[in-house]
Each structure stands twice: as structure tokens, then as C-alpha cells.
């Protein structure tokens, strides 16, 4: 029985390691970026990068190989398609590909290595006055990013993680309607961290449709979203309705604390096939206590009830230390937990990422998890390598 469970759990791990929406570098707090709106079209980060964000990619993210005198500027390396296409001011766009290979190892299965295509996305935003239209479109292997799929037939599997219309009501307030990532916790790149998957707030494919308001002014930032469900999922009874939101305060240029809250109700939960109410409430922090080091942490209470039964309580959390050895090379260690009725699962991550060329990075992860089962904890090991390139 244990072998069966382990084998299927490995399948699940594989699923969780499929596509990833990239470019959500919460460790930028180390460079004094406590918010994301200047670098990303989505004010909470992730996804399409603005012209300013592209420039920052050259300025402080990638390893500088060239001499950078006082006259140095990012130049065409930061432009879309390296400047081959001259974009009008009203349009920002980008394409990104992320792929690699993973090796899984568990006590009951032979180690296996398999390739993964995580991203093959085109994203764009058109701005007309105060109105913005944002969309992403990608093609992936069948079975990947199912939740974001818009079309599948025998030859193609198209998906759109995000598409929304927004209005910049003021310079501080943006109201959007459409499909977008939920405002909850730290928007980390490790989308399969338990803190993301157990709250269904990862930036891979957990986006939902709804109406979202983001306010950022001075040291405060708040975002709330009324969730209408994933409209790409049918029948409608599977869709979750509710809210998700966060509020954050920058205590200083390198310390942000925040709180998040989420509640959703589905007539028929996609996992349990029951009427289900999910709640998550927690705290998050991003800080850089010393130069080069970024600490990202969050902890959440999980409240789950099905068919009106008494709620069961759980919790999850993630804490990561990211150290930039020299500009462009990051090493990180992270710990995580997921406490559910079956027990408490524990995980540890070791990662290295090198932004070694313009718009290009190489990342290697080692993930060890002690997965709670009814018969105790079972270990799993994964090594994941990936190459990420964007235009």
C-alpha cells in the first residue's frame, strides 16, 4: 500500500513541477524593492515585465560582464527582442520560455529523469489613457497548466494564465477585472511550495477570474479581489467564489510585513467533489537584514470544511534565505511545512540561480520532503534543473 501511495505521490510531485510562471523575484527586497508595481504590469508582481523592470534586469539582476562606467546604460539588451522590434509606448510585451529536467527519487520507485516544459508564453499589455488590457497566451504539452487552458485539440494545447482589463483610477489605485493571480502571501517563484499549493495561490495556474483593486501609496500596499471563479473551468459548480486579499507595510526600505486572507466556496470542489469552504489566513514578511541577504517568510492557518461539517484546521509555512554571492548568482535555502489531518509534512529546499546573460538564467533545485501519510512520513528527493530565457 505504501508503495502505491508513494508512486502516486511521485506522480503528484511531477504534476506540481510542471509549468511555472516566472519572473517573480521577491528577493528584490535586497535591492530596496519592497513593492513590484514599477517592474511588473501586475502591481503585485509576476508575469509581464515593464520597460523599467526590463532595465532593472540588466542593472541589478544579471551578472555584469562588461565595464560599467558612469555613462553605462542597459541599452538594447533590456529592450524587447534585444531591440529588434521598436515597440510603441502604449505596448509592452514579452515572451518567455522555461524548460529543464527533473529527477525523482523515492524509496519505492526507481530514480527517473524526465524533461519538463514549464513556460512558453507570450504576454502583452496595451495602454490607452488610463485603461490597460493585459493578456498572456502560451502553448504547453497536454496536461500542463490545465487550470489555465483555453483550447486543446489533437494538435495544440493553448493556455492563458492571465487576461484582464484594468483602469488606473489614480496613480495609486488600479482596478482590474479578468483572470489574474490571487493576492495572497509572498508571490514567490517556487509555485509548488506548500504555502502556495495548499492555499491555491500559486502563479503557475491558480489564477482566477474576478475583480481586483490594488492600492499602493507610501509605505502601504493593499490588494483585494472578489473571486468569481476560474471561468475556464466548467461546469460552473466547480468554480470557487469568495475573496482574497492582503495588506502590507514597509517598515523600512528593506523590511515589509503583511497579512493575507482568503475564503472561497465551491459547490463541488475540484479535489474532493464535495461542497467545500476553504479559508487561509496568515502573515508574510520580506526583509533584507544585511546586504545581499533576503529573507522571505510566511505562515498560514488553513481552515477547511466540506458539506457543512465542522471545519478542520491545518497550517502551512515557508521560510527562505536567499544570498546573492555576487550580482547575478543566488544561493537559497528554504524550509516548509504542511500540517493536515494526516500529519505534518516537512520539506527543505536548496537552490542556486545564476542570471548569467541578458534575460537568461540557469537554476538548480534540490528538494527533500518528508511527506506525511497515515503510516508516518515518507521521504522524497527531487533534483530539478531549468533554463529560463525571455525576450
Amino acid at each position: 500500500m505504501l508503495k502505491r501511495l508513494t508512486a502516486l505521490a511521485v506522480m503528484l510531485l511531477g504534476l506540481l513541477l510542471t509549468p511555472s510562471d516566472a519572473q517573480a523575484y521577491a528577493w528584490s527586497v535586497n535591492h530596496g524593492y519592497t513593492t513590484c508595481a514599477s517592474c511588473h504590469a501586475d502591481p503585485s508582481g509576476g508575469g509581464l515585465v515593464t520597460e523599467y523592470g526590463r532595465a532593472q534586469g540588466e542593472i541589478f539582476i544579471r551578472t555584469p560582464w562588461e565595464e560599467r562606467g558612469s555613462e553605462w546604460e542597459p541599452g538594447k539588451a533590456a529592450d524587447f527582442a534585444f531591440g529588434a522590434v521598436d515597440l510603441p509606448e502604449w505596448l509592452i510585451t514579452g515572451a518567455t520560455i522555461r524548460g529543464g529536467a527533473a529527477r525523482l527519487d523515492t524509496p519505492s520507485t526507481d530514480p527517473s529523469v524526465f524533461p519538463i516544459v514549464m513556460q512558453a508564453d507570450l504576454r502583452a499589455q496595451v495602454t490607452v489613457g488610463k485603461v490597460r488590457a493585459y493578456g498572456s497566451l502560451g502553448a504547453l504539452p497536454t496536461g500542463s497548466a490545465e487550470e489555465a487552458r483555453v483550447l486543446r485539440n489533437d494538435t495544440v494545447n493553448l493556455y492563458s494564465r492571465e487576461h484582464w482589463l484594468g483602469v488606473d483610477v489614480t496613480g495609486d489605485l488600479v482596478v482590474r477585472a479578468g483572470r489574474m493571480a490571487l493576492p495572497y502571501g509572498n508571490r514567490i517563484l517556487e509555485h509548488n511550495a506548500w504555502a502556495r499549493t495548499s492555499t491555491r495561490t500559486d502563479i503557475n495556474a491558480d489564477q482566477q477570474d474576478g475583480i481586483n483593486a490594488h492600492y499602493g501609496k507610501g509605505d502601504w500596499r493593499a490588494e483585494v479581489m472578489g473571486i468569481a471563479g476560474n471561468l475556464q473551468l466548467s461546469p460552473a459548480g466547480y468554480r470557487e467564489r469568495g475573496y482574497s486579499g492582503l495588506v502590507e507595510y514597509s517598515i523600512g526600505p528593506k523590511l515589509v510585513v503583511g497579512a493575507s486572507s482568503l475564503l472561497t466556496v465551491a459547490e463541488l470542489d475540484i479535489q474532493t467533489l464535495d461542497q467545500r469552504t476553504r479559508q487561509a489566513h496568515g502573515l508574510q514578511v520580506r526583509s533584507s537584514p544585511v546586504h545581499g541577504l533576503a529573507i522571505l517568510g510566511e505562515g498560514h492557518l488553513l481552515v477547511d470544511s466540506s458539506n457543512g461539517s465542522a471545519p478542520s484546521l491545518g497550517s502551512t509555512g515557508w521560510i527562505q534565505a536567499d544570498y546573492e554571492i555576487f550580482q547575478g548568482l543566488h544561493v537559497a535555502a528554504a524550509g516548509e511545512w504542511l500540517q493536515q489531518e494526516v500529519g505534518t509534512s516537512l520539506g527543505g529546499w536548496g537552490s542556486a540561480t545564476w542570471f548569467f546573460a541578458p534575460k537568461t538564467d540557469l537554476r538548480v533545485d534540490y528538494i527533500h520532503r518528508q511527506n506525511a501519510t497515515s503510516s508516518g512520513r515518507t521521504p522524497s528527493h527531487m533534483v530539478l534543473g531549468q533554463l529560463h530565457f525571455s525576450l
Binding site: 510542471t18 496595451v126 498572456s136
Partner: protein, 137 residues
């Protein structure tokens, strides 16, 4: 870059998609194999167990395809309702017998290019691509 794209056909972290492709159905719900949350230790459904018994291995799509074929050839009926598992998947019912009346979840448009709805984003992107190409011309 080509090797990354060509790797798409070999990706094994996509078992629901493999089922969908093999049977030409929508990707099945997580609940077909998982009882409760899709986390470690919850694969306890009768259908999931049948797949394992039929030789399913981790990260091995061929084993999944073979296991599905085995279930089909043997007419495995995990929930004992008189309809084989594969037939239930083809019919869009639950091979675990807990919700045969429940329509299976589906994402996006399958096998068609139905206008509107979820394709709005795709349409937007196609328009933008057109603008870009025109500028280059």
C-alpha cells in the same frame, strides 16, 4: 531551444493530460485518484488502486498508457457498478462510483475553437501579434 520544445511530448508530469489524450476525453479530476486534497498519501480511490495494480509507475507515461490499456482489455470495474472504468471515463462519469451523475470538470475548449469566453485572452494576444508584425513590415 528545440530540445526543450521537443521535450514536450515526453513530459511525464502530466498524467491527467495523458489520460485525456489517450481516451480523447477531458482531463480527469484529481479526485479520480486522490481521496481528499491532492497531496501525498491521498491516492486511495478504487480507480487509482486499479491503475497501480495494472503496473502504473511514477513518471512513466508509457506505464500509464499500458495500465489504461490493461484496464480496458480486462474490463476492470473498480466501483462494481457494471460499467468498466474506461467506459466510465469515456462517458464522463466517475469510475469510483461516488458521483456518476456528476459531470466531469473541463478546462477551456476541447477539440474546437468556440469563439468568445475563455478565448478572449487568446484573441487579444493574436491581435497584438498582428500589430507587431505589421510594424516590422
Amino acid at each position: 531551444m528545440l530540445w526543450i520544445l521537443s521535450g514536450a511530448a515526453l513530459a511525464s508530469g502530466s498524467y491527467p493530460g495523458v489520460v485525456a489524450q489517450e481516451l480523447t476525453v477531458d482531463s480527469p479530476s484529481c479526485a479520480v485518484c486522490h481521496d481528499g486534497a491532492t497531496t501525498f498519501g491521498t491516492v486511495t480511490t478504487p480507480f487509482g488502486a486499479s491503475l497501480l495494480d495494472a503496473g502504473l509507475e511514477a513518471s512513466n507515461e508509457d506505464s500509464l498508457i499500458a495500465a489504461l490499456a490493461t484496464l480496458e482489455s480486462e474490463g476492470t470495474d473498480s466501483d462494481g457498478d457494471g460499467v468498466g472504468d474506461i467506459d466510465e471515463l469515456l462517458d464522463g462519469t466517475d469510475p469510483n462510483g461516488t458521483g456518476s451523475e456528476v459531470e466531469a470538470p473541463a478546462y477551456g475548449c476541447v477539440g474546437s475553437t468556440r469563439p468568445g469566453g475563455p478565448l478572449a485572452g487568446a484573441t487579444l494576444l493574436a491581435m497584438l501579434a498582428g500589430v507587431l508584425l505589421r510594424r516590422r513590415g
